[in-house]
């Protein structure tokens, strides 16, 4: 089992202002599998992804990735996991605006000391970015920027790719294009994918589908 999530709970705020976002969420995922998580705005999709991506800590429950209990890790341990084993794709792309496309593609791999120029060249070719390598993010369209973000995440050959509304800012054709590339690359690298999305169409392209309602998976 690549990913095992058990009874995950998370709330924000304190006292009477406290708002429970996740209430006992559990799920499992094998390597190479892809899981779409759908739900209304505020249903907890992003929170679940943040917890699995070790960007935040749960109030209760456990997460195991590749057999390791990652919820028990300290801050530097979680950072190392994110850097070396997990790929993240955000709705806002989150590229470094002062780095070129080439610089952004290689950024996480360099941080993880896993820089493989040949692999990044391959990614650039498959993502159709070779002619834009020396451009800056602001000089690209939204679809192109999201492709860079996907490439950056896959440059470390992650065991797990987490994508939070990756097509939320893109038009339909571009969304289809980016999604197709992401699935294809995950399949080829045997990378597990968890994607939060509003789109039932996009969700239908993944191997599994779960719906999150009021903090619980159905």
């Amino acid at each position: 089992m690549l990913l095992r999530v058990e009874d995950l709970e998370k709330s924000y705020g304190h006292g009477p202002q406290s708002q429970s976002v996740l209430r006992g969420v559990s799920l499992e995922l094998e390597a190479g599998e892809s899981l779409a998580i759908t739900g209304e705005s505020g249903s907890g999709k992003s929170t679940l992804l943040h917890l699995i991506g070790l960007l935040d800590q749960p109030d209760a429950g456990a997460i195991r990735i590749a057999g390791e209990a990652v919820t028990a890790l300290d801050d530097s341990g979680r950072a190392r996991w994110r850097r070396e084993r997990i790929g993240l794709v955000f709705q806002q792309f989150n590229l470094v605006p002062s780095l070129t496309v080439a610089g952004n593609l290689a950024l996480q791999a360099r941080l993880a000391k896993q820089h493989d120029p040949a692999w990044i060249q391959t990614l650039a070719e498959r993502l159709g970015l070779t002619e834009y390598l020396q451009r800056y993010p602001e000089q690209l369209s939204g679809g192109q920027q999201q492709r860079v973000a996907v490439g950056r995440a896959l440059a470390i050959r992650p065991v797990l790719l987490l994508a939070d509304e990756p097509t939320g800012n893109l038009d339909e054709a571009t969304s289809e294009d980016v999604l197709e590339l992401m699935l294809e690359l995950c399949r080829d690298a045997d990378t597990a994918l968890v994607m939060a999305t509003h789109s039932t169409h996009a969700a239908g392209r993944l191997t599994r589908h779960a719906h999150l309602t009021r903090g619980q998976l159905t």
């Binding site: 950072a79 850097r83 955000f90 989150n94 590229l95 605006p97 002062s98 950024l107």
Partner: protein
């Protein structure tokens, strides 16, 4: 990993070269101002050290008499008794329009460690001793002294610029003072077994090495003032660095969050930010040290003239590259960069990983923060107000000024927000309401630059008021004190007597200006004797006086002392003042004596002669006569008497000379004032340019609903002008308090005199004009680029709605 994070952070500067230039120039300018002041101070201190070594200060006792000098026989007496004594002649020599300090020594009897010349030194040869002799001068003075008819000159790195060292016989010939010497240096360590000096040469005054080495102490206050100004300039420059680094952090906040999300540990980001700050500091430090050297080289001749005029201290006019100032330049650059980065580093360390993107979150200043800031500012101002009540001294003065400046600077943003808030309530009309609300929103981004402007304006008002008040008082004091129309000096006693008789028959009054070197209440100084004449009673300004003070002085029953001695010793009227360790006289009055660092006293002429006898320098006279008769009398005097050089000076000549010394004294202050204001203008420019690049999201909606780019640009200019005006309004009272502190606290400590404060509203208005002009110029470039910005850029804001 740290390297990758560092490279990602540094890539920001490649995309924003203007911002990088702002940061480096800002830190470089701040360092330059600090370094230049340190370089000037280091050069001056080195010169004092050389001068001290040259005079054997600290090791040798110096014997001297009055202006008449010491007969050669006295020196022979000392030598015969076995004292290691060496004669000295000193004077000013006018050469080719310049004045050089000439010192004549006897190289055979000068102690090896007592002078610039060591026995066996290659420059001592027969030619130094024989006709026509050799003049040893600083290398930079060789050219100006060659071909002037003087003996041959030889460059020596051991001689201070502006000074000439030569054999005593050559000096006596050049100064026209053969047969007398000015001072005798005595090796005090050879005292056992010798006849005590007090018995052997009772008419000579002794001053020990410590007294002769007073220059460093006297000028210490001047250098402290310079250092304070240097630090103020650095603080102004630091605002630029704070603003630039703060804005860079805000612009990179999203990138930092991305780096963290991608697994970069906080420690790597902190180390990367530290390395970045150090690299920037070293680059800016190098720029600052070079600029500082240039500024110091330009200012040093003026400072040297000031120190010579004010304290009689010879300072080299040429700047040497000394490690203490360039290292301090780098150190202050690193300190500035690290302290400016500290805030960013702290924010980076606690940056929430998942917070929504908040560009310029710091800009959203809550009114609560303003209230906290205002409370803190008032607390600092209250502390500053209390310091002079409970503490005294120079450090207390500067601590008070520090509290005042920081308090006023902190009060500026809340004060401006309050004014804008009130104005917004009064304004009707959508554009003016939006304009005021938008200005308030801009305040946090501009506040550092505005604080820098406030610092510079307040310093300008304060120092300007101090200097102008001083000048006004000084001119008035000169008019009163230099009441005689003509001042005459005789070359010897016989001529002096002849002069007196001759002048007495041709003028309204002849006022002897006789004096003797003496201790005054234990302080080294000079005692003057005056005749009882209405000139003194009518013209001399007295700061404090007992009834019938002039009568008491004339009767030999009282003494007047100068203000600095009065303050230094904390004396009161009626206190006994001991003169030259003899019987004391009661203090009957205190008079102003600007520009003199030493003690001075006035007694009656007869008591002076009775007390000091042969030690009285009795060669000078002030002559009262109708001003229109002065030129004719001067011509007659020149024809009738062989007067020494500078032996005949009219009132206007002395006043002009005194004023020229005064004006030179504050040349460096004026220059630093202008530089500080320039740095503040640059801070404003830098902030406006950087903010302009982040303003588009705020301007685009207003543009979309109908304000043209031209209108927006004009409003941006208007905003800069209004903020400069409001800043000036706060800077003027701050500057006036600064002036008061300088006049009432710092000057009293530094120079020993307190001056009345005058205000110069015309200067404030000129400063307002300059501030608004600087702000408008600073706003011009961003406004111009706003006008030229294509509509596409505005539309992109809506396309990339966050």
């Amino acid at each position: 990993m740290t390297l990758t994070a560092l490279l990602a952070l540094l890539s920001h500067w490649r995309r924003k070269p203007g911002q990088l230039a702002t940061l480096i120039i800002g830190l470089g300018l701040a360092t330059a101002l600090w370094t230049s002041v340190q370089a000037i101070n280091a050069e001056a201190r080195a010169s004092y050290g050389e001068a001290s070594a040259a005079m054997g200060a600290g090791r040798l006792t110096r014997l001297h008499a009055g202006e008449a000098g010491i007969p050669v026989e006295q020196w022979a007496l000392l030598r015969r008794d076995g004292w290691a004594a060496s004669p000295l002649i000193e004077g000013d020599l006018e050469v080719g329009g310049g004045v050089f300090g000439l010192t004549g020594i006897d190289p055979l009897s000068t102690r090896s460690e007592g002078g610039n010349l060591a026995p066996g030194d290659q420059i001592i040869g027969l030619e130094f001793l024989t006709q026509p002799g050799l003049l040893l001068v600083a290398p930079e003075d060789v050219e100006s002294l060659t071909g002037t008819g003087l003996p041959p000159v030889l460059a020596s790195a051991n001689v201070t610029p502006g000074q000439i060292l030569t054999d005593i016989a050559v000096a006596a010939r050049l100064l026209g003072r053969e047969g007398v010497i000015d001072a005798i240096l005595i090796d005090d360590s050879a005292r056992p077994g010798r006849t005590p000096l007090e018995q052997l040469v009772p008419t000579l005054e002794q001053s020990d090495g410590a007294a002769a080495n007073d220059i460093a102490q006297l000028t210490g206050s001047f250098h402290l003032n310079l250092t304070a100004f240097g630090f103020l300039s650095f603080a102004v420059g630091l605002f630029i660095v704070y603003a630039a680094i703060g804005l860079a952090f805000e612009q990179r906040r999203a990138s930092l969050r991305t780096l963290r999300a991608l697994g970069t540990p906080v420690s790597s980001i902190v180390i990367a930010l530290l390395i970045e700050a150090l690299v920037l500091a070293l680059i800016a430090g190098a720029l600052g040290v070079v600029l500082g050297y240039l500024v110091a080289s330009t200012l040093l001749p003026g400072v040297a003239a000031t120190l010579r005029g004010l304290y009689g201290a010879a300072v080299s006019g040429e700047l040497a590259i000394r490690p203490q100032w360039w290292l301090s330049g780098f150190a202050i650059a690193v300190f500035g960069a690290l302290s400016a980065t500290a805030v960013s580093i702290r924010q980076a360390a606690v940056l929430p990983l998942l917070a929504a993107a908040q560009p310029r979150a710091w800009a959203i200043a809550s009114s609560r923060r303003y209230i906290q800031q205002a409370v803190f500012a008032f607390a600092l101002l209250a502390l500053a107000a209390l310091i002079p009540v409970f503490f005294s001294g120079m450090l207390a003065g500067f601590a008070m000024l520090g509290g005042l400046f920081v308090g006023a600077a902190l009060l500026l943003p809340p004060g401006l927000a309050l004014v804008l808030n009130l104005a917004q309530r009064c304004m009707k009309g959508p554009v003016s309401e939006w304009f005021l609300a938008d200005t308030r929103q801009q305040l946090p981004g501009l506040s550092l630059a505005l604080m820098a402007l406030m610092f510079a304006l307040a310093a300008n008002v304060g120092v300007g008021t101090m200097v102008s008040s001083f000048r006004l008082t000084f001119v008035g004091w000169l008019d009163q004190r230099l009441a005689a129309e003509l001042y005459v000096s005789a070359s010897d006693e016989a001529q002096s007597q002849e002069l007196y008789a001759w002048l007495d028959a041709r003028s309204d009054a002849v006022l002897p200006i006789w004096s003797a070197n003496s201790t005054i209440a234990g302080q080294p100084g000079e005692v003057f004797g005056i005749v009882d004449h209405s000139t003194y009673r009518d013209h001399w300004p007295l700061l404090a006086a007992a009834p019938n003070a002039w009568d008491a002085v004339a009767a030999g029953e009282g003494v007047m002392i100068n203000e600095q001695t009065w303050r230094r010793l904390n004396l009161s009227l009626g206190d006994p003042i001991t003169l030259a360790d003899t019987s004391a006289l009661p203090l009957v009055a205190v008079y102003s004596d600007y520009g003199n660092p030493n003690a001075q006293a006035i007694i009656g002429l007869d008591p002076l002669v009775e007390r000091y006898g042969e030690r009285v320098a009795n060669l000078r006279y002030g002559v009262r006569l109708p001003p229109e008769d002065v030129p004719a009398l001067m011509r007659e005097l020149e024809a009738r008497f062989d007067l020494p050089e500078f032996g005949l000076i009219d009132q206007a000549g002395i006043k002009a000379f005194s004023l020229s010394i005064f004006d030179r004294t504050f040349t460096v202050t004026g220059a630093l004032n202008v530089l500080t204001l320039s740095v503040a203008a640059f801070a404003m420019f830098a902030s406006l340019v950087t903010l302009a690049s982040m303003r588009l999201p705020q301007l685009a909606p207003v543009w979309a609903i109908g304000l043209s780019r031209g209108q927006l640009a004009r409003l941006e200019m208007l905003r800069a002008g209004i903020l400069a005006l409001l800043t000036w309004l706060i800077a003027v009272p701050t500057g006036l308090v600064l002036a008061w502190a300088l006049l009432a606290i710092v000057n009293v400590e530094a120079f020993g005199w307190r001056l009345p404060m005058h205000v110069f509203p015309g200067d404030w208005l000129r400063l307002l004009g300059l501030a608004v002009l600087a702000a408008l110029i600073a706003a011009l470039l961003p406004a111009r680029s706003l006008v030229k910005r294509p509509p596409r850029d505005f539309l992109q804001v809506f396309a990339q709605e966050r």
